[in-house]
Each structure stands twice: as C-alpha cells, then as structure tokens.
Symmetry: D2
C-alpha cells in the first residue's frame, strides 16, 4: 500500500477524488513516524536537524549576504477574516509626537515610544506547530488532541519547544521558475516528479536530504503582491500534491516551507476536502511546516549565483503553548 | 570634553549626580553618529554589520550546537504594568478539544487548532528600534521625533528595516561570572574597565570590535527566575554605566544586548534621572539595543569550552513601523 | 453670518463646494458653545440632559416594551480596515468543550467558560466622545488638542465622564420612512427643512427640544444588512447636511445618533473634505454623537403605534480616557 | 430534601464542609428551572422580567437623578492575572497631539483621535452569561456544555440574546450597611435570614419579588478602593451563602448583582471547593449574575431618601457568543 498511486499515461499520479478520508488513512499508515523518537517526543522531524547539519549549513556561508524571508507584519496583509484570523493590529502606547511636545513626564529631555501588537499567530510568515492539525482527534505521536491542545494552549508540543532548533541547511526549490515563468498557475499540484526534476535542474546544491529545511517557491506571493491579497489566504494556489506525503517522509527533511497560505495545492485534490496533506504531514509525519514565507529575493539571488543552499535560521517567537508562531527566517549565503 | 570623567583614586569614574541633562548633552556631542551614513539612514550601527562579519560569524560554528536566547512569551513574564506594558496574552481560536469532539465543521476527520497573541512589542526578549528613544525631541540621525514616530508608528526607522541584517558574530561578556559569583548586585554600574577586564579574562574569543553583536550577562534574569519577577521590569539591576557611552561608540559594535530589563544600571547614576544611557545610545549613537535576553545556558556552555564568540542570528519580527520587536535570538557554536 | 446659506429656488441650501475650511470657520463661529458651561466642562451638550428630562423620559414608558439599538459585536461587522479599525475579535479563554472533558482542574464537577475581546472602541454601535474630533488643533471648549488626547488617551474629556448621564427622552426621526420608502439614497443630505417636515409628519411625540437625544434613521443599516457591509464604513451614505449645524445647536439637544457610519452625509458636500460637520459639532457645539445604531426594530414599532418618543438609556462602557465607546442603547416605550 | 440545611442553635445554617459535590447535586435538584421556558430557552430567569415589570420600574423615577454602577475600565483595575484575565488595555490609533501637529493627512484643519481596547469580557463590571458556568458538563437548560460553548464562543446562549431585556425594577439590599458599618468582613456568608432582615429594615421599597434585579452591596469594593486591589479578584470576600440558592430560586428574581468579584462568599463554605453557588445558580436556576458593580454612590443616596428601588437599565455590550459582557448599569430614581 502506497500513498503514491499508480501513474497513468501522462505520468501524473491520480487520486480517487471521492475518498479523501481513505486516502488520508492510507497515507498516514505509510508515513507515520509515531513512536520513532519515543513517547515523549515534542519535535517530530526537527529531530533530524542535528549539530552536524548545523555545521554543514554554516559552511555554506561564502559571501555573507543575508536575506529575510518574512513578510512585513501589518494591516496590509494576507488575512481576510477566515476563522477570525485578522491581520496584525499595531498600536502605539507612546509616540515621538508626544515626546516632542514634552507631555510624557520624563526628566532631562528623555522621550520614548512604545507599542503593542495584537495578531493571530498564523497571520503572516509563520511555522505551524505540531499541535496545529489533528487527524480524527489524534495529534502528533498519537496523542489525543484534547490532551494536547485545550483553551490553555498546546500543553505538550507548544512552539516554545522549537525555540533553539531551527537553524541549519536550507535548500530552495524554485518550482515557479522551474515549471513556469516564475509563477505556477493556481491549482497546480506539485508532484514528487516535479520536485526531483527541479532538483536535477538546479544542480548539486539543490539536493535535499535528512535534516534539511526545504523551501518550495511557487510564485503565489509574487502574484499577490502584484494583484492584491484577494484569494491568497485560503483561495486557489499552486502547492504540494497530496501525493508528496511519501517524499516528505522518505527524504527525512526537518521542515518544509512555501510562499503560499497553506503549502499544499488548493483546491485540494479531492471533491470535498480540506487540507488533507496537512492531516498527514503534521500529526503523522510530525513535520514542521512553514507558510507565507517570502522567497522571492532569495530565489532571485540563487538563480544568479546558481547556489540553492544556504545557512537558514528560522527561530519562532516562543509563545508558550502556541500552535504556530511568527518567524523572521534569515538565510545567509 | 569626554563622556568618560576623570577617574578618582578607586579607579571608578564619577559623574555629577545632579546634572543628568548636562551629562547627556556632553556624551551626545562626543559620540554622535548623526550623518555618518547619510541623511536617509535607518540602520545606525547595524551598518557596521557587513557581509564580512557574517562570514566571520559563520566560521565560528564548530560543534553545531544551538542556543535560543529568548525567554518564553507568556503571562508568567516580566511585566508588571509599567506604562501599560502587560505580559503576552495568548488565546485560542480553535483547540484539540474542539477537534476531538467533532464540532469544527471540517470534512474527513480533519481538525485544527489556531491561536492569537496580544502583547506589547517590548514585553519580553526584544530589540529596541531606533525610534524607541528620543533626546529633547530628536530621534536617530537628528530627525524630529514627531516626524518619525506618530500614532501610526515609526514611519522612518521602523523595526522592519532591520529584518535581514542582524546575523553575524556574537560575543558574550559574562560580567556576572567575571565580577561576582554569577550574579552582579543590583545597582552595580558596569564600567569600561570592567568590560576590558572581562574580555581579557575570557581570552581572545571575547575580543570585541566593529560589527560585533555584544551580549552582556549580569545574572539579573537568573535571579528573577529564582526569586520572582518583582523588580525585574523597571526596578534595581546591574547594568552598563552611563560612562560606557564612549566605549559603545568607539568599538563600533553593531548592537548590544543584556539579560536585564533596561541594559543600563538601575537606579541610574544621577539623582533624578530616567535611562540616560538610552538617551545617548539610541538617538545619538544609533545603537540597536536588546533587552531581557536569556543568556544563561549559552554562558554556561561558553564557560565550559572557553569560546565566547558564535554565530548569532537575532532577526526581529518585522512589524511595520514598530519601535521595538520580539526576537528569538539563536546562537550557534 | 449664518451657517444656513441662502436657499435657491428648489428650497435646498447651497454651499460653496470649494471652501470647506471657510464654511467650517463660519459655522463654528455661529454655533460655538465654548465657555457656556465653564472652563472645566467635560460634558458639552449633555449638560442639557437634566433630571427633569429624565423624569419626562420615564413618563413615556407605557407598554414597557424594550428595544436594543445595538448591532451585534462580532467579526461580521461594518469595519473594513479604515485607519486600522477592525471588527471585534472575540476569543475564548475557557470553553464548555474543555469543561465537559474535565480538563480544567476545578473540583466537584465545576466547569467554566471565559472570554476576551479586542476591538476598536468605534468599531460598531458607539458614542463619539468629546475628544474624538478637533478643529485646527482645538478640542471641545477651546482646549489644545494635544493637552487633551495624548497616547495615554483623553485625559480631560474621556468617555468615562459620560457614564451616568445618558438616560432621558429619546426621539426617533425616521427620515428614511418620511422621505423615501424606508431607505434614503446615498449622498442624500438631510436638511433642517427635512427634519422639521419629518417632525411635523410624525406628530406631537416627535417634537425635539432641549435635552433630548435625537435618533435619525436613514435606512443605511437596513441596506447594509441586505446587501453587505461594502461601503458602509466610510463609503457613501445619506446623513445630516453640513447645514444642520445651526439646528443641532439651536435645538439644544443633548445628543444625536444615526444608523450610519458617520452621521453626516457622504460624500461630504464639498469637493475635497472629510466630515466637516463633525469638525463643527464635536469641538464647537460640544455635541455627543452616536453612530452605527440599529434603529430598525424601534422604527417599525413607532410606525405602528404612532409614538416616536421613549425612555432611552445609552450608557457607554466607561473606558478611562476613551475618545469613544461601545454602547448598547435600550429604548423603553 | 432542601438546599437549606437544618438550623443549629445559633440560627445560621450549616453545611457538610466535606461534600460540596453532594450539596451542589441536592441544591440543583431542588432549584432547577430546566425546561421551565421550553427546550429552546436562552434567557433563563430574565424571562421573569416582563413589560409589566418595566412599567413598574419606570414609575419609580421621581427625582430623575441617575447613577452609573460601573467601575472605570482601565489598567488600574481589579485583575491580577487569574486564568489570564488582565485589566483592559486601552491604546490610541490617533491622538490630539498628532492632530495638533498636522500629521494626520486630513483636509481643512480636521483632526481626529481614535482608540482600541483589549480586555477580558469579565475583567470589570459585567454580567455573567448563561454559558459562563457548567455543572458536570451541563449548561443551562440541561444542554451539553460542549454543544453550547466551543472555541467559537457560546453558540446557543451568547450574551447577545440579553441585549434588549435587562431594563426594569432594581432593588438594592445594602448588607454592608445593614449588618456592619458599611463593609462586611471577608468570609461573611450572607444568608436568607440576613436578606430578609435587610429587606425588613430597609422598608417597603426594598421588597424583592418576581422579575426584579436585585443588587447586594457588601462593601468589598469600597474597601478595595481604600486598600488596593490585592485579594479583590478571587480572594476572600463577603458574599451570598451557598444556602441562598433556594431563595434565589423561590423569589423568581430576574438577576442578581454584587460589588464583589464573585457574588458568593469566599472562601467558599466547603473545605475544597470553587464557587459552588455559581454551579447551581447559573446552569440550574438559569440566573443572570452581575459582578464587580459599583453600588456605593447609589447606596449612599438610598440611605438618605429611604427609597431602595429604582429604574435600572443594565444592557450588556452584545458581543456575539460571549459568555459574559461588560455593562454600564444606570439606575434612575
């Protein structure tokens, strides 16, 4: 039994569009990492990212140039209200205008500005935590979802456990550039064959293996920047095919991130479905997934120098018990 | 005229405790970097952190071990309400308990958890932005404070401009360990002599120069962890002496961070004053300052292997127009 | 000099569309109440609402039927992001699902739910405070705007001062019903003549005088309910003409509220303008203005029984220093 | 079987301190209103507050004087962090200082201030909704708690259903004045006998019956104002005895409110218990409960004129799905 269905004549995998639940169950059985790192594990595939991988990553720094892979966090952002996700609301507690006017009450000409933010933790560039998605009431490592994430937050696999780990070798696979003119069309399901072909085309620096953090660029964010946010958060997009679950598992990558809202293709590859690859990847593989990353400047640089790997530090803000967290990933080449 | 006053017999600098305004003015005149990087500069001393420094930093990765220097962000945090700064409030939009009960309305057994945070941007481990502090209504580079930070945020030097830059060589100076038994007493003003002596004692890996990110550990956080948060946010603490302004300027470091609430000694070294070193360092030197960093685990490791420098990535969440931002700094050795 | 311009042949007042600043200045000079209630006044026209008016209001209760004039506060609300105004975000701290599962840690079968809201104070049914609008840097009673509302809030005329006062006689003028088929067209400027004619048509219970709280229904909310929120918050709408400033002043009403976003007509009656009637009514008349009230059910009832006045209690949540506040107004007939 | 235990020699009821669960079960069986208003009921005892009661309330307005019974909502408030309840955080989106400086971008001298609040719905003066408390996983009217309040809020009995109803006859029982010198000692359990004696002492205007909103003053808030908030939110306090459940049910009052954090006596009258009277009153009686009301000014007035009833409008902000809501109750005499 394999998550990868037989290939028809055109070489692209097919799925029974009427049975997402069966497909999820079969894929889950095939790729499950439950128990692999013990009953108490809180890291999942981030366990693959070890000290050796960090040494390998650091050795990739040649020019010393750095790229932030974060979008800006503000009200001109991707969210349009799906499940109460708003854009970040940033307000000031003190300002320069107040300071200048001398009304702050500080001595010797001192003035200050201070501010507050209120935001969904997954409103912009972010990591999904292992408590973000469940399959039939089961969280990562087979735990009951209700034992893990209550109204008090994720009491077992909160994002704070990831705080020191996510620094290592990053690899960018620019599928938008490889398959199209920079931007894949909405609904394009990136297959394992596509990923392999992209690696081959990009050359040796694009080879992906155990412990790597893999960044898949579709071009969807570039289009949103040009055309507006409508449809970006939750609408149609290119993304990973459900059938890549086996590849995500087999390669033993530490994490994957994309420039899209939901990393997998939308509409999903079933008639009535919602993010079935999440349902396999997070609770069963234990995969840490990044979304809404801005890969465009990095991709442009990689295309020029032909080197697709780099030292990547992507340390989430360790909000205790969070099921996701904002991150400003920095790639250094 | 020098910010560093004459040394009395005991070798410690003295200040006229009755004249903070004069002291600030003299120090500002001595250390000002206004105009150094042009009229449009938004980075200040982060300009010193160049690609070469990032290459130097990456070359320090030997073992591949990584340390998060962030505190956890939750309601058990440092804040006690000073100027409306609260601790982070983390609430859930969806939970595992809901998913388990099947009330979320998703198909094929899919379940999800989602969450929100509301927090002051300087509530926990953070960078001060260049728009955080003003001197007599002037912001970094001589701009009018009211031209920079309005109720809409910092429209000139917002923290988003720092997004890709803060990765390079970090150096830890463990003054708590050097001068005391791990924890300096409250009110201890760390002087330039102290910093030099600590560097000398820690050896060649602790030498500080242009473009470095310098981390000064006092032990104050370690004590707060043991004794509670009372007094941590705004109360007495060891910290840098006002007289270190010259050193901060002369060394051409890119940034400095400490394990205290306010990086400078408290009570301040004047009779009636509020954070006078901030008033020089941020608007005049253009120095990026980090506060409430957790340096304890890293310090323990450095004490063991005798290596006090490392590759440090400390990328703030790029909230547009923010005058400070949360960060999860990661040191890799 | 009068705010009411000469009437042309069609009986409707005209304004010089090219000179909003002059029109505001002339109207302000004509209707100013500065100093009327002393230098320290914080209530403005709410001073007109005295105990006698409350007795008069209470005497209007005949059937005992009550109407809430508040919209529901939730994410399906009027806001679309204008100046960072979002809809209310309501999140849970504890839920029934948690309680049911027994994971809350309470004894003897006790369970609880608790919640949080984050919202602009003027996101839905609200009162504008006297510190909400300024004219050329002047707030109500002639105070410097910067002396009144800083980043710490309205330190002089905060909405908390209104807490006990806003209960008295309310009068509904249903201009939507009077002039149209229930809903006025966008851009319709309600004039003093319109108001007088509506009062006359509605009969003796609709007469407006000193200390009354006047509710003007345009039908705009009814249309938003039917057609969606697009354009409701900030877009075109019927509303009071700029030329009603004299009437608002002369009648000595305590407050006015409408079912629209901004109580005055939009587009405004000048070529390049923003809410010029606000600029006169709030800082100069000292008028308390209510917006986004839901007057539909009350209006339907009044049309049936022919009685247009009632006891109205509209007590804002007294957020200290707020320049506006949510309110659930209750009319009892 | 009665919730009111046998009285010992001293006339005060006793409870088996070791069996809160049994006591709750017995009381619940005795006072349950489940099904009384049909399976779909969302109002509970507020059903008792009918139009006749509103007419009766309005007729109590003699002088026209009004009292706000709300505390001010700000950071100097009761909360100290219990279950993530903070005090309200009020921040500005625009200020008078900005307006004065001319940096807001509006035409013709227009300036504005705008603000935001973030707060727990039960942080200050509030009504508990019917979805606030559960007994063994059961909510009001016998519904499963998890069918009522999920992470999306109270989908059945949200506070919005109360929006038009809570206006009627209010009666103040000043137990603090009746039993003590204005302030009852912490831990004092107010019994049915105490309530009856207070009514008798206060005279005919203090008689309580069907549909009334009963306000019980203990003096706890007055002490907090004098001594500080420590202990107010969740600490020891006078309050209603568990044994008043029968009285709360039998009198058919519409609602009850107090000047304390939790309306019932604390410490609770059992060895290991948490708010057992809530567990009976809310899910079983269907009683709407108000907390942290400021009754002091009203009580002083009632003591002078000897009239203890009044027209009370206490309309909660109708946050959709909320299990509680802030309110500014206004009493008019």
């Amino acid at each position: 039994m394999s998550v990868m269905p037989a290939l028809p004549a055109d070489g692209r995998p097919t799925l029974d569009r009427t049975d997402p639940e069966g497909a999820v169950a079969r894929a889950a059985a095939e790729v499950s990492n439950w128990g692999r790192w013990g009953d108490d594990d809180v890291l999942g595939t981030v366990n693959f990212l070890d000290d050796g991988k960090r040494r390998e990553g650091a050795a990739l720094v040649r020019r010393g140039v750095s790229f932030s892979l974060a979008q800006r966090f503000d009200m001109d952002g991707p969210q349009t209200g799906w499940r109460r996700r708003t854009n970040p609301v940033h307000t000031m507690l003190d300002t320069g205008v107040d300071a200048e006017r001398g009304s702050q009450g500080f001595p010797h000409g001192f003035g200050g500005a201070d501010d507050v933010v209120s935001m969904p933790l997954q409103c912009s560039t972010q990591w999904d935590g292992l408590g973000h998605i469940f399959d039939h009431g089961r969280a990562w490592n087979g735990r009951a979802a209700g034992d893990v994430v209550t109204s008090e937050g994720d009491r077992v696999t909160g994002i704070e456990h990831m705080a020191p780990h996510l620094a290592g070798r990053g690899v960018l696979l620019d599928l938008g550039r490889h398959l199209a003119d920079g931007e894949l069309p909405d609904g394009y399901a990136i297959t394992e064959d596509d990923l392999r072909a992209c690696m081959a085309a990009q050359g040796p620096t694009a080879q992906v293996g155990r412990g790597d953090i893999v960044l898949v660029r579709t071009g969807r964010l570039a289009r949103a920047r040009r055309e507006g946010w409508a449809g970006y958060a939750g609408g149609p997009s290119a993304g990973l095919s459900f059938t890549t679950a086996g590849w995500l598992h087999r390669t033993e990558i530490a994490a994957v991130a994309t420039d899209t809202w939901g990393f997998e293709v939308r509409p999903n590859e079933f008639d009535d479905a919602f993010q079935p690859l999440h349902q396999v990847a997070i609770p069963h593989i234990g995969l840490t997934v990044g979304e809404m990353w801005d890969l465009d400047a990095l991709a442009a640089d990689c295309a020029i120098d032909g080197r697709w790997d780099f030292f990547l530090t992507a340390a989430p803000i360790p909000v205790t018990g969070a099921v996701g967290a904002p991150v400003n990933p920095v790639a250094v080449k």
